[in-house]
Homo-oligomer: 130 residues x 2
DNA sequence: TGTCATTGAATGACGCGTCATATACATTGA
DNA sequence: TCAATGTATATGACGCGTCATTCAATGACA
């Protein structure tokens, strides 16, 4: 049978493992966020949405789909898109089939920024993930 | 030499890997946070501080040391401790050697809550980390 | 066609973390 | 002993994410 001592050891390992995950998550996310903020004036979440939009160019009614590919809330996505739109990087297009939906398009500026920022993003991922 | 195609494949893998880390991080943290919130009325960060304090019972001048064991900011730690203190789970003790410092002690209630919450916490870690 | 439930998105109140700063104490060195 | 500098924590303004709610458009079905 498992002794109390066994259980404590196991718990300690679990907690260690968790702390190390947290650490590497925060380290990586933080590094990317600061770099993008400094060089391109957008945060990590903004970039991730930009990246998803860039990636799925051409299928319709994005907004909804985005929510499914990100741990962000629907309302968070909506606000991130607000900022991207205000920054002139993305535009919301109404969707003719279903007028509740919207789909997103990169503007020229958005496309340009994305392609530079993506290089940075990939580089930092590589650097941080090993 | 590496072709553009090679680089794109490699980037895609990196991004996949990163999304999967994010996913498992958010899934785990979210699950723990919701459970602790529901059952014990404290958030994940509160628990982590509680857990650190419980773990290091007896060495002096905690506050500072805590900052070094957590990805949280010094000011975040200060505010988490505010809440824990308001909830009566922890108390700040002035430190005689260095009156700028504080060290923290679990109250009875804090100790009790921590030991129940820790069980839940470990269980969810195990469940989510595999 | 007229209800009723559902769905995509936006919004406002709210909590929390961060940054820059403030405050109190400590240390150093002349 | 008195600056000057450094260190431990607290605090206020601010940005962002979340939750609950709202609104418009759709779908289902009698």
């Amino acid at each position: 049978m498992a002794t109390t001592r066994d259980r404590q050891l196991h718990d300690r390992e679990l907690v260690e493992q968790w702390r190390s995950i947290q650490d590497s998550y925060f380290r990586t996310a933080g590094a990317i966020d600061r770099a993008l903020e400094a060089k391109f004036d957008i945060g990590l979440n903004e970039f991730e949405i930009l990246d998803l939009v860039a990636d799925s160019e051409e299928s319709a009614c994005r907004m909804k789909a985005l929510g499914e590919r990100t741990p962000m809330t629907q309302s968070a996505v909506s606000k991130v898109v607000d900022r991207l739109e205000k920054a002139g990087l993305v535009s919301r297009q109404t969707c003719v089939d279903d007028r509740r939906s919207l789909f997103l398009e990169l503007t020229e500026a958005g496309r340009a920024l994305h392609s530079s920022a993506a290089v940075e993003h990939r580089a930092l991922l590589k650097e941080n993930l090993g």
